[in-house]
Amino acid sequence: MRFFGREKDESVIIIGCGRLGRSLACAMSGQGQDVTVIDRDENALKRLPSSYRVSVIAGDGTDTDILELAGIRNAGSLIAATGDEAANIMIAQIASRHYQIKNVLAYIDDMSKTVSCQGMNIITVCPTVLSVNEAQRVLFHAKEEKAV
């Protein structure tokens, strides 16, 4: 997709450059997506493999100035993948409400907190629930049950 230059509404912004954010950035950049990663910690950004073409911005992802610098006005997707749930929720709400980003995904460990995103166009993902589902699938070949 890169051949056609920077298409509007195609770029992905990932906030958080921990293990999760980094893996997401590499995977998506590897698929040819235009990826920008934001993290407060410059050293975390340096851990991104240089073989991937990923733009990086050091700064607070809950700060709209930083998000604008990352091109949120033209972004098609945003993934909030910091280690701080509250920050993920806030970033997702900024992206969805303030910037009307189509695809907003937030990692939230405690599913009971997703009540805060009710009625908003935000996909919440709980790593714990996913792991439980996967464990059940692998161990018992059981139908994926909805974990609580």
Binding site: T62, E85, A86, I89, M90, I91, K113, V115, S116
Partner: protein, 222 residues
């Protein structure tokens, strides 16, 4: 009135003291166990130790029975989440958040936080008022900051001393609404003279406030 204070440290302590003195029923959620203990010992408030964004903890602290939930933490995201969960899950009547980045103020209120207070903005406003106070003038913005009310003291050095009001060339968007003389308020007319020790209360557009202040407090040429 029942108030739940979530997060924060010194702010929570000072607010607990102030609210207890006004006989409010105060409850505190704080992550720091020792801090919970300190507050409980010092002010005899009920404390719940843990993460204030955890709905089960908010339930334990009876957020649903609170008249107000105030999120006082240094992290804006934390404060937002506390208020949203209180509002959406526990239907708390009033939610209140401290906002550290003034840019978040409008956004938080849009998301349903009833009242946000930005400490930074508060300080900036105070500094601005103080800066104008250097011109020996008190400045109060009204009507969403479109209109300025200034109190300008007239001293014996003032260029407009003993002038009649109609003689003073004030900007178009301004009027001397009131004069405070010897502690009495005086509604001036065109031929009222300004005397030393008077305080002129001026209504003006914000843009012309500085000009008005300069004209009225301006020194006589010697």
């Amino acid at each position: 009135m029942n108030i739940l204070l979530v997060g924060g440290r010194q702010r929570t302590r000072l607010l607990t003291r102030a609210l207890k003195a006004r006989d409010y029923h105060v409850r505190v959620i704080n992550e720091d166990f020792d801090w919970c203990k300190t507050l409980a010992d010092e002010y005899e408030v009920e404390t719940v130790c843990g993460d204030g964004t955890d709905p089960s903890l908010l339930k334990e602290a009876a957020a649903d029975k609170m008249d107000m939930v105030a999120a006082l933490d240094a992290r804006d995201a934390f404060n937002l989440l506390v208020c949203e969960i209180a509002k959406k899950q526990f239907h708390t009547k009033k939610t209140f958040a401290i906002v550290n980045d003034p840019k978040n103020e409008a956004f938080f209120e849009d998301l349903g936080v009833d009242k946000c207070v930005s400490v930074t903005r508060f300080l900036a406003d105070m500094i601005e008022q103080e800066a104008i106070a250097d011109n020996i003038c008190k400045y109060l913005p009204v009507a969403d900051g479109r209109v300025a009310v200034c109190e300008v003291p007239i001293n014996s050095e003032s260029a407009v001393l003993n002038s009649k009001l109609w003689e003073i060339a004030l900007p178009a968007q301004s009027i001397i609404g009131c004069i405070i003389r010897d502690g009495q308020t005086l509604i001036p007319q065109g031929n009222t003279q300004l005397k030393a020790g008077d305080h002129a209360v001026v209504l003006s557009s914000v843009e012309s406030a500085d000009e008005v202040t300069a004209i009225l407090s301006g020194k006589k040429k010697k």
